[in-house]
């Protein structure tokens, strides 16, 4: 299983903070995004926006980063702390 997290505006728009995704057939971050859009429907296209950041096990990664069973994958909008 991949644990998937969403934050801030994205969390509100998708109506979920966290979910579990089967690791089978989902070998990269980009593949996980496609699987989430396929399963969630049109609203989940939000995950494909250019400014959405992906973090794998709490480090920012690109779409080609490989996924392992048990990974934590987060999607979030541009940060605004400080």
């Amino acid at each position: 299983m991949i644990r998937v997290l969403f934050f801030a505006r994205l969390r509100e728009q998708l109506g979920t903070a966290a979910l579990e995704l089967e690791h089978d057939g989902v070998s990269t971050v980009a593949a996980a995004r496609e699987a989430l859009v396929a399963r969630g429907g049109e609203q989940w296209q939000l995950l494909c926006a250019d400014n959405i950041i992906t973090a794998l096990n709490q480090e920012v990664v690109a779409g080609d980063a490989p996924l392992q069973d048990g990974d934590e994958l987060a999607f979030y909008p541009p940060v605004t702390g400080g």
Binding site: L5, F7, A8, R9, N51, A55, Q58, E59, V60, A74, Y76, P77, P78, V79, T80, G81, G82
Partner: protein, 156 residues
Amino acid sequence: MTEARTEVRVQQADFDAGRELDELRLQSRRMGAIASFIGVMRDLNEGDSVSAMTLEHYPGMTEKAITTIVGEARERWPLGAVTVIHRVGPLQPQDQIVFVGVAAAHRGESFAACEFIMDYLKTRAPFWKKERTADGERWVEARAGDESAAQRWQEQ
């Protein structure tokens, strides 16, 4: 240089900047300079009055991201103790949001590292501000100026 202390705290509670500066000073031998920055909540944004704010974060990653940023600062400048505190949860105008304190042998390194840490924190650490105005709540938009402030360090 011997291993200098890095302290990173993400907390709902307020902090006492005077006490943090004392800690930095007392933990830093041979350090002649301490630079600090405090980010404060403004009651105005994008021309609208802001009455309250909530800061969301990604628990675990925020601490990791800030620690990485401090590590990058240490690769650029010889630093003594460094403290970064970032608040989360509900905040009111004039509340303290963030504290960065950097000890170094001389002022140049402490000023530069303090600014570097803030520039990177603003663009890399996973925090999100949601503010309340007369029209309701809204997520604060990221500023292009913050990104260019961080990028200018890569050109140096």
